[in-house]
């Protein structure tokens, strides 16, 4: 899945000469955590987080504080250079950027111009879609030998019953390299016939089980 499929195209931006007060307003108004700073031709030159802005604001503990700090230019507190991504990057790749760099917002840049933004939240939403938990479904876990051709063998059983698969995940089976776990979310309230078919075909099911030895 490409970044352009999950990015937000309406991006909240500020010019470098805007004030910290402007940034505070925007963060509050849009209920967001990051503002991207662009120049006159929409090139990304910095980014500020809600924490940067709060650190630069007077403490709420000080009564009658002089609020002159809020009139400082945003470019005095922005982070730069900025890590950016491309619309054709993969979602998996940006997940590792979030993880490695410990950041939560990535501007998307094409031909040196800002075209979108992806946040950690957008990324998690995509993950929810991938796990299939957003559609009505039942879950089945099958333990299978790790060999070529096993996936179509198992999925053929669902196909024969005309049961739609909402998602498939493939996990390693504990530390045993000879096995994999296939997790299916299928769009039916009655998985019984499929479960019977899988058992008849000799597959071991981790779910459902009898509750005696939950893994």
């Amino acid at each position: 899945m490409h970044v352009e499929e999950i990015m937000k195209k309406e991006v909240v931006i500020l010019k470098p000469g805007a004030t910290i007060a402007n940034a505070l307003d925007l963060l509050e108004k849009h209920r967001i955590r990051h503002i991207i700073i662009v120049d006159d031709v929409n090139q990304v030159i910095g980014i500020v987080s809600d924490r940067d802005v709060r650190d630069a604001s007077p403490s709420t503990f000080i009564k009658d504080a002089d609020n002159s700090e809020l009139q400082n230019e945003i470019q005095t507190i922005m982070s730069h250079p900025v890590i950016t991504i491309h619309p054709m990057d993969f979602v998996e790749e940006i997940a590792s950027i979030f993880y490695d760099k410990e950041i939560a917002c990535l501007p998307v840049v094409r031909n040196n111009r800002l075209v979108g933004v992806v946040t950690e939240k957008d990324m998690l939403y995509t993950l929810i879609q991938l796990t299939g938990t957003h559609v009505q479904s039942s879950l089945i876990e099958v333990k299978v030998p790790d060999r070529p051709g096993i996936l179509p063998e198992v999925t053929a059983i669902f196909g024969k019953r005309k049961t739609n698969i909402a998602s498939v995940l493939v996990y390693p089976y504990k530390n045993d390299l000879d096995y994999k776990v296939l997790v299916f979310r299928i769009q039916t309230m009655n998985p019984m016939p499929i479960i019977q078919d899988l058992r008849n075909a000799g597959y071991e099911l981790l779910w459902p089980n009898d509750g005696l030895g939950l893994t």
Partner: protein, 385 residues
Amino acid sequence: MRNNSAFVFSNDYLTYHFHKDHPFNHKRVQLAKELLELSGALTKQDIIPARMATDEELALFHDYDYIDAVKRAGRGGLNEKAGQEYGLGTEDTPIFKNMHEASSFLVGGTLTAVDEVISGNKDHVLNLGGGLHHGFERKASGFCIYNDSAVAIKYIREKYKLRVLYIDTDAHHGDGVQWAFYDDPNVCTFSIHETGRYLFPGTGNVNERGIKEGHGYSFNLPIDAFTQDESFLHVYETAVREIAAFFKPDVIVTQNGADAHCFDPLTHLCGTMAIYDRIPFVAHELAHEYCNGKWIAIGGGGYDMWRVVPRAWAQIWNVMKHGKPAAGAIPVQWIEKWQNESPVRLPANWHDSEEAIPEIPRKAEISEKNEQLLKSLLKYTKPIR
């Protein structure tokens, strides 16, 4: 407590029939009714005939496009592709002859129950034909075509403006009803069910709390697979009493799916008949405490149609009409009449014997986890400021 009650029924309920191998079989309603008749708890004077819901009534919740598609499907006039958009013709909700009429009777039965209760004719009314909580505005799903509960609650809101507490004890999340009133502060929904981690439909997390005006009026208790009576009843009773105290409803609608029993083939909860004694008992108490008795009870899921559902559903009526659940032996005539047709041995008693109850090694862990869930839920039953 006065127990002025009625039982809604029509033979037309039996026409809600997908095909002979489908797990949803409304013969369950007949089995429960005959069990009550043969045990002397239900007489002709108690029964009110169900009517068919009108299109206008269905449209209180459903789209006219969808109603039209159901009508066409029932007459063989809907092709596979067109059906897909509406969830019609799937493995879960296959098309059957006159499905619109059959489904409308179930909704009409629940509306009859509503009218009897709200008009004051009766305090409590039971419609075992209803409880089809997975029906959506324009989509059939999970064995449900029309969502009688959603239609009936919209009907209560439009016609009588009363505040409704909907309690759903089916082992599956009552998603159709929850989403129907997700933004409505006058309808509070509470569903206890097996966690959606494995089980259809997958939703019903404790953090699903409603949106906009309705935020704070949706409650969920997604208990662990293999939960047994003790933990089920503890978390359920605590939650439902707190929620009723928080919301103070004018009328209570209970959906009584009977699929949380350890015999049920579709779910993984591990209850016994004991929970089906308590569920109606608590609903009855709450209806008298908050609603001047106004209580509408409807059926729902339940896929062990021989051993579990007839007994569980009969107990709702026993509590409603006679103030307490039945105990002891099941009438022999009932067993004799149905044993030949049943693939399993019919139960001899109203309650399960010890042998029926499986040993669950993770019991302590499951109970502890459910307790944590209850705590999360209870954080939300404090008044909102």
